[in-house]
């Protein structure tokens, strides 16, 4: 049976690779911002640890968690992408990513997201958007609390 296109688009090799071998996986010792995010209806969990620099930039970021390939890959790719970024840029990336996975309009190319755009396939699976957004919502909260 041929794998159908939407599934291949959702589960691209890069995404599966991140879910099997998540990057920046683990914890940071305090002091750091720590946010627990979960999707109670499905049991996905992400614990996000962020250490901000003096200027508010993301110096170190790690995550721990369990859940589906989408939630874990999204978290893994996010930590790689936002590391070293200042808060305004990270906040913009959160908005970009939100538009990529849940935008109603046609998908826009957002260069600064890089590989994260591969998660665009989630658009066709509305029940999975919350999986893709889990780590990003945690990051948003960490940035608010990290002020």
């Amino acid at each position: 049976m041929a794998m159908n296109d939407e599934l291949r688009e959702l589960y691209q090799q890069v995404i599966l690779d991140h879910s099997r071998k998540p990057r920046n996986f683990g914890e940071l010792a305090p002091p750091c911002a720590h946010v627990h995010g979960d999707n109670p209806s499905c049991g996905d969990e992400v614990d996000l640890y962020v250490r901000f620099g003096e200027g508010g930039e993301i110096n170190e970021i790690k995550f721990n968690g369990q859940g589906c390939a989408i939630s874990q890959a999204s978290a893994s790719m996010m930590t790689q992408k936002v590391k070293g970024k200042g808060k305004p840029e990270a906040a913009a990336m959160i908005e970009d990513f939100r538009r990529v996975v849940m935008g109603d309009e046609e998908p826009v190319e957002v260069d600064r997201l890089g590989d994260l755009q591969l998660l665009e396939g989630v658009r066709k699976f509305p029940q999975r958007v919350k999986c893709a957004m889990l780590a990003w919502r945690a990051l948003e909260q960490a940035m608010e609390e990290g002020e």
């Binding site: 099997r20 209806s41 049991g43 369990q66 390939a69």
Partner: protein, 443 residues
Amino acid sequence: MDGHENWSFELGDEWPDGGTWGVGYVCKRERKVMDWASIRGEFPILQQRVKGGRLIYLDNAATSQKPRAVIEAMSRYYECDNANVHRGMHELSGRATAAYEGAREKVARYLGAGSAEEIVFTRGTTEAINLVAQVFGAAFLQAGDVILLTEMEHHSNLVPWQLVAARCGARMKHIPVRDDGTLDLEVAAALFAEGGVKVAAFTHISNTLGTVNPVVELCRMAREAGAVSLVDGAQSAGHLRVDVRALGCDFYAFSGHKMCGPTGIGALYGRQEWLERMPPWHGGGEMISVVRLDGSEFKPPPMRFEAGTPNIGGAVGLGAAIDFIESIGREAIWEHDQVLTQHLLGRLGEVPGIRVLGQAVGVERGPVAAFTTVAAHPHDLVTFADERGLALRGGHHCNQPLMRRFKVPSTARASVYFYNTLDEVDEMIDIVQEAVRFFGGLD
């Protein structure tokens, strides 16, 4: 499982059409081969393709599909008889009332209740349990009393009691689940012996483990401890013969939609002596006899607990669902459940890295299998399956404490009903195998 000792079924010949729909089972008593293929044909929704394949609906523990007879009975009611019940003095109101009360009679007979007065229509199991928890709780529970539940309860048989306990100061205790998915009855006996138990509420069949609980024994323990018993029948009412008097329960709650009926209708059986002692729940029309500006008098049960215009069309649909199930026979349905479930469990065992919760293959169980695989997370597996037209459920199945008990964040779940086939189970296994290869990086 009462009542089918006179029956037995044997694996018969395959169907003349080449066996594509499954296998026939010979009922020894009636010498009748169950024609599951034509029974399946009564479900219009099953004759469709979904996404990449023929629909394989294996989410029956969440809700069942509806046969033509139920859909048509409801249409007919709305096209010909619709009116409000119990008050109009016109022809249609008479017909609607007869249809509604006729459905109540059917439910009473279906459950083996003493009379139709013991049947309260509700939106479903959840509302029925809330009714008992809130009304019984407010009237009879005091601080320090014990509400005894089990670790395998659906949230709908946990949360209503938590709300009541918080209000009246009652304590909750839980009968633990053993590794094999059965209740620890020794601990149950000890918990009853500790005293103070006023209510014991437990599920008949677990919606995740499939375990058929020894409800007769649990109800007896409750009775001997002076506690009332409530059986959550959501997963049993449509599958095996239920006789509430043989079970010995004080309350039994079920939903129509899990047994071929529509959503939004279910019922509570309550032993008459308890229903009569219980004060009203919701106030409004239908449930009163005399209303003054400063107070009211209430009707006797079951009307006392049915405020407002009820779900008449739903009750008609539920009555039709009962007729449909009775035309097949619950003994035959349960036997077929077992054949499909044992096949499902056996075939799941072939999948690498699989873990199925609950009792071993070969033990009689409700027709559900909740499982995890090492390679594919339940959500990914369910999304993958969905693209093939296979409807599974992924998540915690409203069983978060049970998931914690078995140390799994979530599971995939396949649940069958009598219209499913052995072929569908085989196709499901192929898809699960394919998903495991895909997510495991072997494809």
